[in-house]
Amino acid sequence: MIPNSVAIVGAAETTELGKIPELSQIGLHADAALNAIADAGLTVRDIDGVATAGHNSTEVAHYLGIVPKWADGTSVGGCSFMVHVRHAVAAIEAGLCETVLITHGESGRNRVGVLGRPVFPSQFDAQFEAPYGVSIPPSRFTIPVMRKMKDDGLTEEQLAMVAVVQREWAAFHPRASFRDPITVDDVLNSKMICWPFRKLMCCLVTDGGGALVLTSAARAKDLRQKPVYIRGAGESAETPVVSQMKDFTSSAAFRMSGKLAFESAGLKHSEVDHLMIYDAFAHLPVYGLEDLGFVGKGEGGAFIAEGNTRPGGKLPLNTNGGGLSYMHSGMYGMYALQESVRQMRGTSPAQVEGARVSVCHGVGGMFAASGTVVMTNDPG
C-alpha cells in the first residue's frame, strides 16, 4: 500500500451508546452508517464500497439502499474493522471503488435481532476445547495469562493497573459507560470471574455501533472533515483455539500485523503519539505493547503500572477508556478506530496535544486474528 493514499473522511458512533433496546443489530449498523456519511458531508449515493463484519455485507448494503461495486465481508472477530480499513485502501488504490463505508453494529447487551455464532463439529473448538468447560470469552481469552505471569513476571497488580489507568482516561469521555475512579484494590476485590481475572479486568457488554467512510486522499481534500490518512496497515491470524497458540506469552498474529503496519507506514515507534490496543481483557494491552515492539518482551505490565500510558504519560494508550470502561459491544475494534480518528482530528474529549500519528491495534476471536492501522493527520 502507498502511505497516505487513502483517508478517513467520515467517522461516527451510533447516536446512543450503551443500552439501546429500541434498535436491532441491523438498525445499529444503519444508525452508525448514516451518522458517518453525514459527518463526511456525503450522501448514501456517494458510497460505492461496503465492508462489515458480524452481519452480511450484502444485507447491510441492501438495507442502506446501496448497490456496491465492492463488498468485503471479512469477519475475523473484533479486529475485522482494522482489516477492512486495510482492504479498503487496497480496493481504492486498485480503482475497484471510490468511497468505502465500513459499518459495525452490535446489540451486545440487549441482544435485539442478533446473529447466533455458528458452531459446527469440524471446528477444533467444538471437539477439543468446548467439552472442557470453556464458553464465553472470559474463560478462553485468559487461558495463556498464567504462563505469561510465570515466564515474564507479569503480576495481578499490574493487570489491575491496566483497568485503573484506563478508567482515568474514561473519566474524560461523557459517553463512557464507567467514569468513576477505581483503585488496584477495587479491581482485585471485584468478583472472581476466571482466576486470575476479576470482573474489573473484563470488558463491558453494551449495545452500539460505529462506521467509517474512506476515500482517496485526492478526493478527501475537497470534503468537509480534516482528512485522517491511512499511513500503514497490517493484518494476520494465528489460531482460533487458544490452546494451540505457539507461544502463550506472545501473539504471532500481533507480531505479524504490527510488523506489516510499521513497515508499510515507514515510521519508527518513537514517532507514534497515540496508541489504541483492543482490550477485551486487561492482559491485551500488555501483549500488544510487547508484540508491537513499543517495549521489550516482559516489560508491558511494568510499563503500564509505572504510569507511562496514563493521562500525562509518554505513550497515551486507550484514551477512550477502552473496552474495560468506554464500551464493548462484542466486536470492539470499531470504537478503538473511532478514538484514533478523534485524536487525529483533534476532537477527542481526552485529546493528546499535538498528536500526529496514531496506531490502532485490534485482536479478534480470542488470539485468532489481528489487524493494525497507522493513521496520521500529516499528509506528508
Binding site: 470453556v134 504462563r147 476466571c194
Partner: protein, 138 residues
C-alpha cells in the same frame, strides 16, 4: 460432574481415530514420517511441513501443567469452580484438559507440575482424555 448436559464432541472422519483411542483408554497423537514432529489436534497431514505421510501413535500420557484458569462462571453440565488447563505433553504438543483428582485452587494447581492422562466417560460414545496429578491414587 453430571454427564448429560456437557458439551459432547462430534467426531469427524479426520478425528475418529483420536476419539476411538480415548474410548479404548489411549491418548493418541499423530506423528509426521517426513519431519518427525508429533502434532495435535488430529488432521490427515502434518501442520509443520504439509506432508500427508503421517501415522497415529499412542502418547506416553505424561505431561506438565502449562497454563490454566479457574472458571467461576460455570459451563453446561459442569459445576464451578473448575480449572480449565492446557497440558504440555511429553511428546511436544499441547492440549486442553480439566485437572481431575486435585483441589481446584491456585495453591494446588502449580504451573509445570507433572500430570498424567486419565479418562472421563461422558456418554456411551464419548470418553474425554483428562489429566490428574502424576502419581495421584486411582
Amino acid at each position: 460432574m453430571s454427564t448429560t448436559d456437557r458439551v459432547v464432541p462430534t467426531p469427524t472422519p479426520e478425528t475418529r481415530h483420536y476419539w476411538d483411542g480415548a474410548q479404548a483408554g489411549e491418548l493418541r497423537l499423530q506423528r509426521c514420517n517426513a519431519c518427525g514432529d508429533a502434532y495435535f489436534p488430529p488432521r490427515p497431514f502434518c501442520p509443520e511441513c504439509g506432508s500427508r505421510d503421517v501415522k497415529v501413535e499412542t502418547a506416553s500420557g505424561r505431561g506438565t501443567l502449562y497454563s490454566y484458569i479457574i472458571n467461576h462462571l460455570g459451563a453446561p453440565g459442569m459445576k464451578p469452580p473448575f480449572a480449565v488447563a492446557v497440558v504440555a505433553l511429553e511428546e511436544g504438543p499441547r492440549m486442553m484438559a480439566n485437572i481431575l483428582e486435585c483441589e481446584q485452587t491456585p495453591e494446588a494447581l502449580v504451573l509445570d507440575m507433572p500430570l498424567e492422562v486419565t479418562f472421563e466417560k461422558i456418554t456411551d460414545a464419548i470418553t474425554l482424555p483428562q489429566f490428574k496429578p502424576a502419581g495421584a491414587p486411582k
